[in-house]
């Protein structure tokens, strides 16, 4: 758990590993505010993490953090992970 990151959870993001994702759709059901499905069932972020230049980084707010954790642990392909800015370097 990121005890020391409580205040900055706002800046966390959900990382989608596209090489693992199989478009099962669990994450899009758990996070309907953040994710929609494309033509083939793969998740599309409604809004990408600012500055990441990639739509595999989905910005999460504290409101969504619980559901995001659930999506990470329930994804059958283990394609999701949570990242915090300090982990990026």
């Amino acid at each position: 758990m990121h005890q020391d990151n409580r205040g900055s959870a706002v800046n966390g993001s959900l990382h989608i590993d596209w090489t693992k994702c199989d478009g099962r759709g669990l994450c899009t059901e758990l996070l309907p505010n953040l994710l929609v499905r494309d033509d083939w069932g793969y998740p599309i972020p409604r809004r990408a993490q600012a500055g990441s230049g990639s739509r595999g980084e989905v910005a999460i707010s504290p409101n969504n953090e619980e559901a995001a954790r659930e999506a990470v642990s329930l994804c059958p392909k283990l394609a999701l992970s949570l990242r915090y800015p300090r982990e990026r370097f």
Partner: protein, 421 residues
């Protein structure tokens, strides 16, 4: 350049060899199939053992950018790799990889370099390895180039530890993480980018992957310095670069100044722009432009500058249909998808299908909007740049061939071969 006949014992170790003449002929001064003796005669000696981490500041001062396609600032890669090599409790010595996979089907420049100037690439590889304190160095290239590299390696004592790794002949085999994956015994497929290669790459070691042409420039930088490097090119694009001119006319590899004008390059290749309807610059992930006088530079406004990418300049004859050509390339790129990431695996064939319908006579005004919708959906969603590069190609085709699109939707093609019936 003529070789010096000075007694080596009287030469001061700090003395640099005479600078090659100013101009854009740099990488092939040692001639065809240059062996080590011709190489040394042309460029003078280089004691790679004296190079240390401070070399990164020379690279920064030179402004050298990567010549493999992405044009990333080379010094930043060096600094990041050296930094993570020193960081942490379990510091691990980095790995340097000379990337000569050259997956771009139209590109010939890396092969030309590895065949004719392999020692310059090895110089750069050894210098880069010293700069980041690497313990391992690889040359990664396709089977056809391995013999030339192998014979160069055996010709010199300082390259004995350099290992060779064969790259498969596929479009994405040169993607940096695919190169790492392949060398470590896996398939040549890109990896998810949660971690950077400069942090953890080959066998978990900090890994520096540089294009072979980038390394050749490093070999010269170590000898002659940043000021000399900047004596060709411009402030925003210093140095020289290799380009492959292909398509209409014989294919050729040219060394041109950074920020060179497209008309100047075509002129050197014996092609007049008036003979062409369009030019694809960069490679299959590149950008179609009208043969106006753009400059080739990694930075600058898009109305005046085209990014050189991997240096491919594909010329389109007025009798060829640009939409048909783009459909064919997109179909190839779709097949070359590694099939790992859903949006790329499904999105690229879908885009190729719509383009084919547009190119070969379906008069459906919704086709363009459908292409744009697919592009928007797929972009930014993959482990590597493959889907985004393909989208750039397709978007530039819709823009550059907009008149052709109108003609096709009206049931005719403005060209005499290919395209709508």
């Amino acid at each position: 350049m003529t070789p010096s006949t000075t007694d080596p014992t009287t030469v001061l170790p700090q003395v640099r060899p005479a600078l090659p003449a100013a101009g854009t002929d740099r990488l092939f001064l040692a001639g065809s199939h240059a062996g080590h003796a011709q190489h040394l005669a042309a460029y003078g000696p280089l004691d790679t053992g004296t190079v240390g981490p401070e070399f990164t500041t020379v690279v920064e001062a030179s402004g050298l950018s990567g010549r493999g396609g992405a044009a990333f600032a080379s010094w930043r890669k060096l600094a990041a790799t050296a930094g993570s090599g020193n960081a942490g409790l379990l510091a691990r010595r980095p790995v340097v990889i000379a990337n000569g996979a050259e997956g771009e089907p139209l590109s010939l420049k890396d092969r030309t370099l590895l065949i004719h100037a392999p020692h310059l690439v090895l110089d750069g590889l050894l210098v880069a390895a010293r700069a980041v304190q690497a313990s391992q160095a690889y040359v990664y290239t396709t089977a056809e180039n391995l013999a030339s590299v192998q014979s160069a390696v055996t010709e010199r004592r300082d390259a004995r530890h350099v290992r060779l790794a064969e790259a498969t002949d596929a479009f994405i085999s040169g993607e940096a993480s695919a190169a790492v994956n392949s060398i470590s015994g896996g398939p040549a497929l890109p990896l998810d980018k949660r971690r950077r290669l400069s942090d953890t790459g080959l066998k978990g070691r900090p890994t520096l992957v540089l294009n072979v042409e980038t390394l050749a420039h490093l070999g010269l930088l170590a000898r002659y310095g940043a000021g000399w490097f900047r004596s060709a090119g411009s402030v925003r694009d210093p140095g020289t670069r290799l380009v492959t001119v292909t398509g209409h006319g014989p294919e050729q590899v040219l060394e041109v100044a950074g920020d060179a004008s497209l008309h100047g390059i075509l002129g050197s290749a014996g092609i007049s722009p008036e003979e062409l309807s369009a030019v694809l610059i960069g490679g299959y992930h590149g950008r179609w432009v009208r043969p106006l006088d753009y400059h080739l530079s990694p930075s600058g406004p898009s109305h005046a500058v085209v990014r050189p990418g991997a240096g491919v300049i594909y010329t389109l004859h007025p009798e060829q249909c640009g939409l048909a050509a783009t459909a064919q390339i997109t179909e190839y790129l779709a097949v070359q998808s590694a099939g790992q990431c859903g949006p790329c695996m499904f999105g690229l064939p879908a885009m190729a299908d719509v383009l084919n319908r547009l190119a070969y006579g379906e008069r459906n005004p919704r086709l363009v909007r459908e292409l744009e919708r697919l592009a928007k959906m797929v972009s930014g969603r993959g482990a590597c740049h493959h889907p985004d590069g393909t989208i750039q190609l397709v978007s530039s085709a819709l823009e550059t061939f907009s008149q052709d699109v109108k003609a096709h939707l009206a049931g005719r093609c403005t060209r005499t071969t290919g395209g709508a019936r």
